[in-house]
Symmetry: D2
């Protein structure tokens, strides 16, 4: 899936010595159990000719020796950023595995995201037990609450130090993982022995070297319903246009997969594929042709698509993300203007299902996935792994240095299978005019 | 449910003579089969004392004699206005009953609402058969398409005359039924023998003397999901507020019933119950108290609520309805301003699920209901009833003069059971300041 | 809907004097607020001519004066018999209304059905509060558990007496209500002042003078999915037959309504409509014709249909119901034999979704309905009504003497609208041979 | 996932010469694009030391040159065996890609499984076009119908020869693929140039070297609902036991994944993990302990589990599969007997959702997957690949020789992650007595 081999260090930091024998039964996974990043025959052959040095990724799984003593260690869990289906599944899995698999009895649920690690907010942690989390996987949202925005790295490290938190499980996106990495560095600088484990939460599925992020399948499955609504509305009006804005700030995975699941989309617009509005090849002329041919059209647009149409505002939100222009409302208005100008009557229906996607409980495939993620995170934390996150590569759960994972963003390559499949399904052409 | 007895004429016009024997088996319903409008013991007793003259409503059902000869008559179906779950179910039921029950073979599906009755649009009618409609009840929307806006009554009557349409089934709301009534009058004026049958379509459930309109149950059931999303989002943020705008221009039935189905709403705002924003009793202070007590709040607002906050614009949409101020966005903005002013940090998530509700297929209870509605409409049409619609009263299907049904709007009485139940469920108080 | 006027006493017993003023606001419902049982014009006219004495049904609703003092009275809730969607909704509504509307703080949840009123079982009651019941409406089943089988009336009355239970809410079917009636009589005999309120639970919707029982809409909606599966399986095989057994011991309402919701059924078999298997008009010949014509067939059978094919076994289950022959497996086997004998190859797929229907959470329409039922039950109990159940008649909530309600069973009249609609939808003919 | 490296030939047969240039745009996949079967660091290192010869798998994708001329070639599709969610998605994807991507206009849908290739049955093929398949992905089942049972290889090859079928897409399980392989061999023996492409259909997910089969995710997701019902029923009865039988003849993937998705299962029984009924470690004693502790229990059993309890009958069904003893009914009866003997009262509810799982439409994740499978199958067929199936390995679509894929069955390894996770989730122990 990734053309170029990353020049990245995939070595995982581990607190040592791991002196406590695991209470689990074998087989154990050893740090030597690693898999190839590049699995192509080509890489093998180059390797045989000594023209290539492969990159390996460490596998997740239970270790034979633990760094933390299960009965005395204290773990904490925090969920940050926007909601994503599966948060409660991951929380549940971490608690259940700490408790039942390792016998750990001291698990804190930190409230309201990273605010929960800042004393000044006085958010009291919740004591998590199997009883508390038993049924939470049936609920959307996060029982710990969440928040956006940066918090002071030093103060958060103080919290870990002052409260004797041995393992911190940080569930969040880009910004959250960045902060987790900085906490891990600060912990190391202070000479503390604490494990910082990330579980990447990105509904957009845009974290590198992680084949699939939790909640993503639920998200595009739910988004497919919104597209079905848009299609129904479009068909029921003369020259009806259904326009759906979906999540996807930098990567159009949700838009692309929802389009492939639904199959009624005519134009799918994503950040990775530039498009024009006007001109012979532009979106408007193509909508016009579609309406002439079939009488209705369905458009899906990822929120990060077409940002070139907005003047760079430089504004950022509380999480430090650049504030985007609202491409959905922009397109709605521009399409209306275009057809008014050519005196063609259209009916446009706009759907923005955002929170109705983010807030749903996870679908069963995601539930199973979240269960494994939480389990692997616990194995990693107990073994003293740190500054890492739990990923998935070639169908195997892996350990990734946080720094490597957030060094670049995973995006759709418009020249490869996924996008070509979308193009075939929608029948859309390249919406760029020759320059 | 209705306090005062209407001074209305509930007599149904019937083309005569009904000379064709029905191909159906007995028992038949006679025009004499009528039910009491007011079923109270009080009415009975007053009646016994001759202090009261009761109003009766004619029952729907197959008649022993038909006005139209089944094998030669031509029927047409039209769907108008916004989408509503169940449209296709009703179309299917009309076609299936005309075809299989009566043997009628000439059924036109008029396209794009009342435009389909205007020659100038050149919308070609679809020939409807059991094969065409067999599976359409599984789809949202209307296979005939729809449109908003008035059309010329004379031209539409010309269409019926020129195309030999004996029975017109008009499925639509207030405006549609109003036009159907005018067509019926014009038909009569011209001395034509045509049957005009309305099937009331109002997702808001606001047609008088009709206990339940089709699609309404699907609508509030689907709306309950949107509220669940708002609740999840609200709980996951510190001082989180979930705000959902639902349909309901003049009547808050969807908002009220979705609130009762979901049970997580704290404030339900409807057109029938006036409320203030500021002041000791106003919405803002009550939200503030709720946040102080529980840390989150869920608000449901019907689109027609709080219109006093907008200056009367006088604008109307294509269907002639007054263009409303957008109470959802208005509240969102006002709430944000209020809490900014009192320097309280809140997070508000706004959900407007409109088209995701209107476009879904009907739930099974509505499917069954639509099946009966279509069946009763066919019985009425074949018997030569006209200028009437098919309703439901005291669990029985009825015939209502269109004029009577649209003479007033059905609304929630804030002093009665439904609203009191909402108040108890939400725990909300009267949001009016003393004047 | 009911042809003959019942010779029944619909007078409700009330403990008196009702001396405590209600904490609720007006308007109140008075015992004089009653509605006509028969709402036909015919009844009215006969009444006016003194040829007919009408039957009135008392309306439910809050009373101005209470028999029990809200802050000191003790209420108890029990759920009996098989599961039915909405049980938890009703429990929740009773608790919420007792607590928030009346201020009652002493509410017992009796465990495992009527066993919970028998000391010997030593089932400890659960103290019910708003916190306990807040989210239970999202769950299927009953948080109180249930059981089948008779318990001693005297012992159960002892329980009420010894534990100071003022109001007993008994949620259950025929047998449960019968026992509730006997308890009420025993309570009266002992000169106690206790209120026994029934809430009829019958997934079959077969309680007389009650237009709709809770859970029924959820049941037939869910059953429609099972039929869709049977249809898919039938179509995918050459001469494929899909056979679905649904609930309905004496009344085929679920089978009939699921058939009308799904529209893919070819044969719907219910207890109220006798049918033959063999002979020119019999089921087998009709299946054969259907297969010859369309290549597949879908059959829905209510569990109580065709019991004439079993020798009366006289066996009864723990609830005292006659043990039925399994008509589903019987038909499957007989159909296979029939086609083997005529050397025709068929594929039959049998679906028995029973527990997958009984155990689901209620759909939103049922949730709203259950909320009202529980509320009305509380109003009735606090007012000292007893030996009664909460019903629905002409869209209004009513009080019915238990004895009247269980005196006969509500069944489908094969000569009326519901069944005729099923016949039209399925296209099935009278499956009886001339005798 | 697979411990031992297979001694298998993964070379794909290709008809040659591929002389027609593809109408598609680059990038193309070349036959040289292959991936490693074993991606472990260990394999790499051994390989570099020449101690190991790796196995490579050919990648799927569009080829630069085609064997068949798109506008003149004739393709045919057949679906065999039991229903599986996604069949229509795959059919749709094959047709859409043949038609729109390659311009092929001659696509036959063969009816009723392999019977459709036997002249004697006289099943007329359906001409498939985009219009025919446009909406079929919303339907469960297969629009082509299916059948079980072997057909004569020679006769089927005759059909291809006589009807000029260039490419046969065979969608089916073990038996179907076996026959496809034999047809391919017969085709070769006769010196014909025909492409035989398999798409593995196994709801049990048990085909080797294929990471995931279509429909499997839909299946376990739907199965999770059945378990939820069993759990609700079990909790609502004193000593309630919910018993669910799921698919899984040789491999327990559905049972295991549904268990992980639902999290309320106490005992999951699969073919790969032997268990005893009696004895200290046996199932019965463990159910007894569970009931003593929690009052209810949920058991999931795959249909192929515990076959040792049946005397080998040697019977086979029409597809040649050994007829299994019904472990579900067997367990139900044995558990009842066991508790009757120890005089403990239990209530057991048995759920067998089989057809309600097999017949549902695919969930969106499966829809997307099926779309790619069909697309890859078309690329393979047009390029003249034959005697192969489309698979998935390390997240990439692959070509596998049919013979290799059906040479062994994919099963759960009880010593590895999936099963250990199930054990942890259920809390179940090894149900084997020491021998």
């Amino acid at each position: 899936m990734f053309a170029a081999q990353p020049k990245l260090d995939f070595t995982i930091k581990t607190l040592s010595p791991a002196k406590y024998p695991s209470p689990l039964l074998p087989p154990f996974t050893s740090d030597e159990n690693r898999i190839l990043f590049d699995t192509s025959a080509d890489a093998w052959e180059k390797g045989m000719r000594k023209e290539y040095e492969p990159v390996f990724i460490e596998l997740a799984g239970s270790r034979e020796h633990l760094f933390f003593e299960p009965h005395t260690c204290r773990a904490a869990i925090v969920t940050c950023g926007g909601l994503c289906p599966g948060l409660n599944d991951v929380i549940r899995a971490i608690v259940m595995n700490l408790w039942h698999t390792y016998g750990c009895r001291d698990i804190l649920g930190l409230q309201w995201g990273y605010e929960g690690l800042i004393e000044a907010y006085q958010h009291k942690p919740i004591q998590l037990t199997p009883e508390v989390v038993e049924k939470i996987h049936d609920l959307g949202g996060s029982i710990l609450g969440s928040s956006r925005g940066d918090q002071n790295i030093g103060s958060m490290t103080d919290f870990l130090e002052n409260n004797g938190v041995d393992i911190l499980f940080a569930i969040g996106g880009d910004g959250t993982l960045h902060a987790a990495h900085e906490i891990a560095e600060e912990v190391e600088k202070r000479g503390l022995k604490r494990s910082i484990i990330g579980i990447p939460k990105t509904i957009d599925n845009d974290i590198s070297f992680v084949a699939k992020s939790f909640g993503f399948e639920t998200a595009f499955s739910t988004a497919a319903n919104a597209i079905a609504s848009a299609h129904t509305e479009a068909k029921a009006a003369r020259n009806g246009i259904g326009l759906v804005k979906l999540m996807g700030r930098h990567s159009g995975f949700i838009a692309a997969n929802a389009t492939l699941a639904n199959r009624d989309v005519n134009f799918c617009l994503i950040p990775e594929a530039d498009f024009d509005l006007d001109g012979e090849n532009g979106l408007f002329m193509n909508i016009r042709k579609r309406l002439a041919k079939r009488g209705h059209a369905v458009i899906v647009v990822a929120e990060g698509a077409g940002q070139k149409f907005f003047e760079a505002s430089g504004e950022t939100d509380k999480s430090g993300n650049v504030r985007f222009g609202d491409i959905g409302l922009f397109l709605k208005s521009k399409i209306e203007t275009y057809f008014k100008e050519i005196k063609a009557e259209i009916t446009i229906k706009y759907i923005d299902p955002s929170y109705m996607i983010r807030s749903v409980p996870s679908i069963p495939t995601d539930s199973v996935f979240c269960g494994f993620l939480g389990q692997m995170a616990v194995h990693a934390g107990m073994a003293g792994k740190t500054d890492m996150l739990v990923g998935l590569w070639n169908n195997m759960f892996t350990h990734l240095p946080i720094k490597a994972a957030i060094s670049r963003r995973k995006m759709i390559n418009p020249a490869q299978k996924l996008w070509m499949s979308v193009m075939e399904t929608t029948g859309q052409t390249d919406l760029k005019n020759p320059s």
